[in-house]
């Protein structure tokens, strides 16, 4: 599904540069649910951004579903993001003047899908996250958990190969976090490959595999016994 070899990335800071990723090797199989952990500055977000094609590595190899991701133009990156990836952000990043339904339909719009079709498909995904009756509400009329569910529906809308979540529960209280995690686990049960960045131990334990980063290298890569989130809900 996903292979990374010797990935390096540094950011220029004034005259010097900050070496953030110092040779990452990583392989993720289809259907895995991986948590990337690490203290701030460990490079976990940078890694996720490179995987998400929001950022580009300085050197190293990145193969997604057999496709080498290299020398991306902005346009190509946009197309790949749209086709292969679904994003879930800590701060939801819904477009605040669009209704829940329109937010979910947005990736489909950029795929060039017809309005009627894409609204139908968006509605299907909203139903899946249990927000059908909230479809015509603006994000500000939704609770944090609901917003994240809309965001998940949006990430799923284009049927991506890989779901990338950057601290998906970071802005939520414990109870809502568990609800969202239960939901993400369901998606994983259905076969979606999921990669998430988190710094919460209990959230990480709800994944199937934990990768710990420190100072730009992988310190530890362990399979864990998944803690089901339902039991807390």
């Amino acid at each position: 599904m996903l292979q990374i070899h010797q990935l390096h990335k540094s950011y220029p800071i004034g005259d010097s540069s900050l070496h953030v990723l110092k040779g990452i090797d990583l392989s993720v199989e289809e259907g895995e649910m991986v948590a990337i952990m690490g203290s701030s500055g460990s490079g976990k977000s940078t890694l996720l951004n490179i995987i998400g094609m929001l950022d580009e590595a300085d050197s190293g190899e990145y193969i997604l579903d057999g496709l080498t991701i290299k020398d991306l133009t902005e346009k190509k990156a946009a197309v790949y993001r749209n086709k292969f990836l679904g994003f879930i952000f800590q701060s939801f990043n819904l477009i605040n003047y669009k209704t829940a339904l329109e937010n979910v339909a947005l990736p489909l719009y950029y795929q060039g899908m017809k309005r009627k079709e894409r609204l139908e498909l968006a509605m299907f995904h909203l139903e899946k996250v249990g927000l059908a009756e909230w479809s015509h509400h603006l994000p500000k009329e939704l609770s944090g958990g609901q917003k994240q569910r809309v965001a998940i529906a949006r990430a799923l809308a284009a049927n991506p190969k890989l779901l990338l979540a950057d601290e998906p529960t970071g802005a939520l209280d414990t109870k809502t976090s568990h609800e969202i995690m239960a939901f993400i686990q369901h998606l994983n049960d259905e076969g979606k490959t999921i990669l998430m960045v988190t710094h919460e131990e209990d959230i990480a334990n709800m994944c199937k595999r934990i990768i710990r980063l420190r100072d730009g290298v992988i310190m530890e890569d362990t399979k864990v016994n998944q803690v089901r989130a339902e039991q807390y809900v």
């Binding site: 929001l54 902005e74 346009k75 749209n82 990736p107 950029y110």
Partner: protein, 414 residues
């Protein structure tokens, strides 16, 4: 490439983002709206003023100078100063033959007469004229005709009267044509009634009789009262005046530097002052209007730029969801053009209202300050096209700004 313009989604996106930022959109539009409103209002007023001048002078050969004899102020070749100067038909002929750039020379005689019909009498200015006058100083005839060559040839006792004369000598709705009026005890047949001109040069001219008839009745011989000289288009009427006067001095044995021997009124010179003023005003109008418009377009660019900064995160999200930079740019440019276009059209419409209001308050009646204050459709259309082009160009600045930020940086912004 332009298919997206006909897709509902494009416009949905534009309307959504404009609706979301109502105040911003409205403020932006006010700039352009005001610019085009001002442009149309000013251009229309300038045109109205021009039209009203044209209406005043339209019937008049403006490239003209009037010359009459006065008294000499310098002794010359044995003549004392203070000698009366009398123009003659020979003078007129010589001028026509010798001065460069002459179109017509029209000799005229004028005197005060009393006219009587039945028991009504009035005192009027009567002029002996050639039919040519009608060409230089268009007479708008209410009835009948003006003088013609036959009248001149046969010294006919016919007269064209102004509506003033008609009102004083005739009953209301009476047909004056073919009737006789008595002018200084001689009967004249009325052949035409003309409207009084808006512009009056010198004393009013109430009645016109054939030049030759005048000569005969008043024993004028060769003498004439004054000359009206019209220059050909493209010739400087001021030079013609100088040349004519010099020739006249020569013919009448007057000192070449005697500036008081002839009196004159140079209509061309006066008119040039007016047209110069009009041209200046038009230039000012365009300058102010276009400058305001450009300021308005820059306001759009400025506000869009701020808007793009505000929306950095939204743009980042859109790009994470798969929007290509081109799609983002296109969106922003379409927004810019849409705002400019709508504001421009609103400006044109309200500019039209302004012109209607101007016409209502200042454009009515014969002595209106602004006649038919209007702007040609072509000008409006060109202004709109320029607006759209400027809108596109100015929209490109924030558009490029928006996509120059990497999506990751855009998303990181809190």
């Amino acid at each position: 490439m332009f298919r997206f313009l006909f897709e509902r989604d494009t416009w949905q996106e534009v309307l959504d983002s404009l609706k979301k930022n109502k105040l911003r959109s409205v403020l932006t539009m006010v700039g352009v709206w005001w610019g085009i409103l001002l442009l149309i209002g000013l251009l229309g007023s300038a045109r109205g003023l021009e039209n009203s001048f044209n209406r005043l002078f339209g019937d008049f050969a403006t490239n003209s100078v009037f010359i009459w004899g006065q008294r000499t102020s310098k002794p010359f070749q044995g003549f004392q100063e203070g000698r009366g100067v009398q123009l003659s038909l020979t003078d007129a002929k010589k001028i026509e033959e010798n001065v460069e750039g002459i179109e017509f020379v029209l000799p005229r005689n004028q005197r005060q007469v009393s006219a009587t019909r039945n028991f009504q009498t009035g005192s009027f200015q009567m002029v002996g004229d050639y039919p040519l006058l009608d060409k230089l100083q268009k007479k708008n005839l209410l009835n009948g005709r003006f003088l013609n060559e036959n009248d001149i040839k046969d010294n006919k006792k016919v007269v064209a009267i102004s509506e003033d004369v008609y009102k004083q000598l005739f009953e209301k709705d009476e047909n004056a044509i073919g009737q006789y009026i008595e002018i200084n005890d001689i009967n004249f047949k009325v052949i035409g009634v003309f409207e009084i001109s808006n512009v009056r040069m010198g004393p009013s001219q109430d009645m016109h009789i054939p030049f030759t008839t005048y000569q005969q009745i008043y024993n004028q011989g060769d003498r004439i009262g004054w000359l009206m000289i019209t220059g050909k288009p493209g010739f400087d009427i001021k030079q013609i005046e100088v040349d004519s006067k010099l020739l006249l001095k020569n013919l009448n044995t007057i000192h070449p530097d005697d500036n008081r021997a002839f009196g004159s009124f140079n209509l061309g010179k006066e008119f040039a002052k007016l047209t110069g003023f009009l041209i200046g005003m038009q230039f000012l109008t365009w300058f102010v209007g276009v400058a305001t418009l450009i300021a308005g377009v820059f306001a759009i660019g400025n506000i869009l730029l701020i808007a793009v900064r505000e929306r950095t995160k939204e743009i980042g999200v859109r790009r994470a969801l798969g929007a290509t930079p081109f799609e983002i740019k296109r969106q922003i440019v379409v927004e810019a053009v849409f705002i400019t276009l709508v504001a421009g059209i609103l400006g044109i419409i309200s500019g039209g209202w302004i012109l209607i209001a101007l016409d209502h308050f200042f454009g009515q009646g014969d002595d209106a300050a602004l006649v038919n204050a209007s702007v040609s459709i072509a000008v409006v259309f060109i202004a709109l096209v320029i607006l759209v082009i400027l809108g596109t160009l100015i929209g490109l600045i924030p558009a490029f700004k928006a996509t120059s930020v990497k999506p990751i940086e855009a998303l990181r912004e809190e």
